[in-house]
């Protein structure tokens, strides 16, 4: 049976209040939030690529990666502020720092990252203050990996079943997917003779992303179902197929053909976008259907009652 066609789990019976949802569906807007997840990953991983390019003397790669880091962070910030119910109060995000709130921690990563990546890109473009520019770039590279992965905690630290149950895998999916996007974008825009690190980053990121995403999809029972059926299922399948095709093309001919490099790079970027939208929509679907809340919780209660009956009985 092709994946994404039907549920792998037999229909379960459960009680509910007129079939109504128990959880509130996330009010986060689309495309704002899934787009932000993608842009944060792209920007974070690009900052690493930029720093490596600067250290190894690849100016074209450095230029593209610095612009991707700065542009991704700026566009991501716009998406995030646009998503707020009261955008004029966006600075309230920096009112307190709460380790219990991934959105708070993330704001304190995104704000300095945006400034540093922007400064590094501006310095690279204008040639002014090169030392300060490099210093800013190094700072952005230090904040880049947490920027790309904290968004996994943002989704996982909720009651949404599909997101919360994947809390061990999501950071690796997001890290790998960010590397894939950054590598892919650089493959599109950088001449072949400087793009080798971009190709390697995309390939290695794709391997990490596929391994982590598959371990979510291969879970038994209801936990994986939201990722396998409906629109999120189609997005996840599309992401996996795009990643596989792009990786094969990159490995075979990415080094020799500019055209292949451009096409494979674009396919990597598409795969990363599809992954973020797929994961986002899977969470929404799992919050809408009371099945994903009631059935596992009811099983937990039964298991506990069984265990205590054994102990007393």
């Amino acid at each position: 049976m092709p994946r994404g066609e039907a549920s792998m789990v037999p229909e379960v019976e459960f009680e509910s209040y007129y079939g109504r949802p128990i959880l509130k569906e996330p009010t986060w807007k689309t495309p704002d939030v899934p787009l932000y997840l993608f842009l944060g990953g792209l920007a974070g991983a690009s900052s690493l690529l930029a720093e490596g390019a600067a250290l190894t003397g690849r100016p074209d790669l450095e230029r593209v990666a610095r612009l991707a880091a700065a542009g991704g962070a700026a566009a991501g910030t716009v998406a995030l502020v646009h998503d707020l119910g009261r955008p004029e109060r966006f600075l309230n995000m920096l009112r307190v720092l709460k380790p219990t709130s991934p959105l708070s921690v993330g704001s304190f990563i995104l704000a300095p990252f945006s400034g540093l990546a922007g400064a590094a890109a501006a310095s690279d473009l204008t040639g002014r203050l090169p030392r300060l520019g490099r210093l800013a770039g190094a700072g952005a590279a230090a904040l880049g990996p947490p920027l790309a992965t904290y968004t996994a905690a943002l989704l996982a630290n909720t009651a949404v079943p599909a997101w919360h149950e994947a809390h061990r895998e999501l950071p690796f999916v997001f890290g790998g997917s960010g590397a894939q996007a950054a590598g892919g974008l650089a493959m599109m825009l950088v001449p072949l003779d400087q793009a080798a690190p971009a190709r390697r980053m995309a390939l290695a990121g794709a391997a990490v992303e596929i391994a982590a995403a598959e371990s979510i999809l291969l879970r038994r029972g209801l936990a994986a179902e939201p990722y396998r059926i409906g629109m999120p299922g189609r997005l996840m399948t599309m992401a996996r197929n795009c990643t596989a095709v792009a990786s094969a093309a990159t490995a075979l001919a990415g080094r020799r053909s500019r055209l292949v490099s451009v096409l494979a790079g674009a396919t990597y970027v598409t795969a990363s976008l599809a992954t973020r939208f797929g994961i986002f929509e899977a969470g929404r679907a799992s919050a809408r259907d009371p099945k994903y809340v009631v059935v596992p919780q009811r099983e937990r209660v039964r298991a506990r009652q069984g265990a205590s009956a054994k102990m007393t009985g």
Binding site: A45, S101, G175, G176, R200
Partner: protein, 329 residues
Amino acid sequence: MSSPLGMSLLSDLFSEGRLWGRLDDVQHDAGYGTSEEHPPRMGFFTDTSVCIGCKACEVACKEWNEVPDDGYLLTGMSYDNTQELGASTWRHVAFVEQPFETVAARPPQEPPVDVAPAVDLGMPSLGVPAGEDQATSSGESGVRWLMSSDVCKHCTHAACLDVCPTGALFRTEFGTVVVQPDVCNGCGYCVPACPYGVIDVRKGDGRAFKCTLCYDRLKEGQQPACAQACPTESIQFGELDELRERADRRLAELHDKGVDVARLYGRDPEDGVGGDGAFFLLLDEPEVYGLPPDPVVTTRDLGTIWKHVGAGAATLVGLGVVSFLGRRR
């Protein structure tokens, strides 16, 4: 060797009692000092066995708190046109209609048996003898009525509060959880964090709202509007410790009368959210009323989540390093 101060502070923050598990003095945890220095924790005990579905609580809440309307829709599913708790519904009376056959035919813990709804032929009917557990049933229509006034649970470990990035959600000196509308920027993080689906963002306004347990009235020594308006004392307001004892007595009383289906929901301070500040006596499984059967606060796993985020970030650093090894072209 002891870990650095920052690390030990963090590991303390993510430990049991702080973000999940039993926590006896929630106000102390929130910085209100010892139990002598702050008022007792206040809450609701909603005894659904005496709820008559009059919705006086819904009306009183709307009136007192000046909560706007959220549409006048007829659901067609039941007497419940309110449908659910939300940004503009802070008390919600659930109406469950169960045909007697369904109730009688269902062994405990088993899925419901599909039975055609009872048709009123205008004939005198006997039905199943109405015992104490059908205190809310109307004997003639062959239907058992379950009614329950739902409300924010004011959890001991409140996910909405912990994930709020602005500090708009806070713990009051009464141990309740309240949103400050002048701080909330409508990020919406509290909405998917709540394991009960209570808090929501108000459309057109953009900010999140929920029950305040009438914080303004509590400060004046009054009881919340819904409890004051409840004609059957289904909604009882008071000190949480005292309410828990009262609920235990009520449960024992019902069990003595043979109402074995009665159970308390949210009363246990050892449960997945450390116990609810607003808890319930129910006459069926929680999910029948639209409540999650075994909610667990998401922050129980927050330490694990951050560890994996750290490992994911380290992996990405590794990917970056590996990308620059090997052939130049």
